[in-house]
């Protein structure tokens, strides 16, 4: 199965400013068609252990922030590392390190970008089996994603497997 140009039925770029719109449009047009990986859900959603991944640059206040000084020195660069965010984390425990988004929403309520509390509620209601112990965040401004794909993504996958995660919801910002 190869990628097809399927549209969501609304203007994907409607909330963006003109300059950003043109950049993203050009990037979309450059993507080549290639086979799409596929792993069917192995059990009903109500039995699945779910993990979340946010690109909002969420970091624990007591941990290391994403390197924003490095990006200020070289604006073409973005920090390719990732952070583990425990299931119990709440808005007071984290900060957002991302120079390309309005951080105020996610900082006043983490669930705007990394919905850990909502995931817990869905587990209590039986919509999902349970929330995984660990969730993940990285900073999504990565013009060159090579190092991120070479180091961070395999490390996240290894941890997802160790924690026997059945499915992942990724939340770009």
């Amino acid at each position: 199965m190869t990628a097809t140009a399927r549209s969501a039925g609304f203007d994907s770029l409607q909330f963006l400013d003109g300059a950003t719109k043109r950049v993203i449009k050009a990037w979309i047009e450059r993507e080549e068609r290639r086979p799409i990986p596929w792993t069917p859900l192995k059990k009903p959603l109500g039995e699945c252990r779910i993990a979340l991944i946010s690109s909002a640059g969420v970091a624990l206040r007591e941990g290391e922030p994403f390197d924003q000084e490095g990006e200020r020195r070289n604006p073409w660069w973005g920090d390719p590392s990732f952070r583990v965010i425990p299931r119990s984390a709440c808005s007071e425990d984290v900060r957002l390190c991302h120079l390309h988004i309005d951080r105020s929403f996610g900082e006043s309520d983490l669930d705007c970008v990394l919905p850990l509390a909502r995931l817990g509620e869905l587990a209590e209601e039986g919509v999902i089996g349970e929330a995984a112990p660990s969730h993940y965040s990285f900073m999504g401004y990565l013009l060159d994603a090579d190092e991120f794909l070479r180091t961070s993504v395999p490390a996240i996958i290894q941890r997802l497997k160790e924690e026997q995660v059945d499915a992942v919801a990724l939340v770009p910002v």
Partner: protein, 121 residues
Amino acid sequence: MGLAQREIEAAGIATVSLSMIPDFTAAPGVPRVAAIAYPNGRPLGNPRDARGQQAVLEAALRVLEEAEEPGTVTTLPFVWPEPAKQVRRESHGETPPIGQLIKRKPWLYLKLVSGEIPRAD
């Protein structure tokens, strides 16, 4: 995000992206996208709108069960209460370093569009 999603799915874990820019997320070829017409920075909705956030998250997760083939883009039935024009006008994001650089050196904008990213500045 799409590239990371591809890797995770290929490693044997089912994935879905909840995306406000579904055309961009889906461009590298991803298995499942739950598309939502919400503004950037708030994919789940507004702060402290627990009920709304939960409905969005549940709808996105249901796509894991419902999608039958790779490349599925499911548009979620949520409508943002304010017009896009108003959201753009009221957005308070600061100008990122790359934006400041391009203001000083406008010709670099073409590099950004072309994707020819300088390795070190």
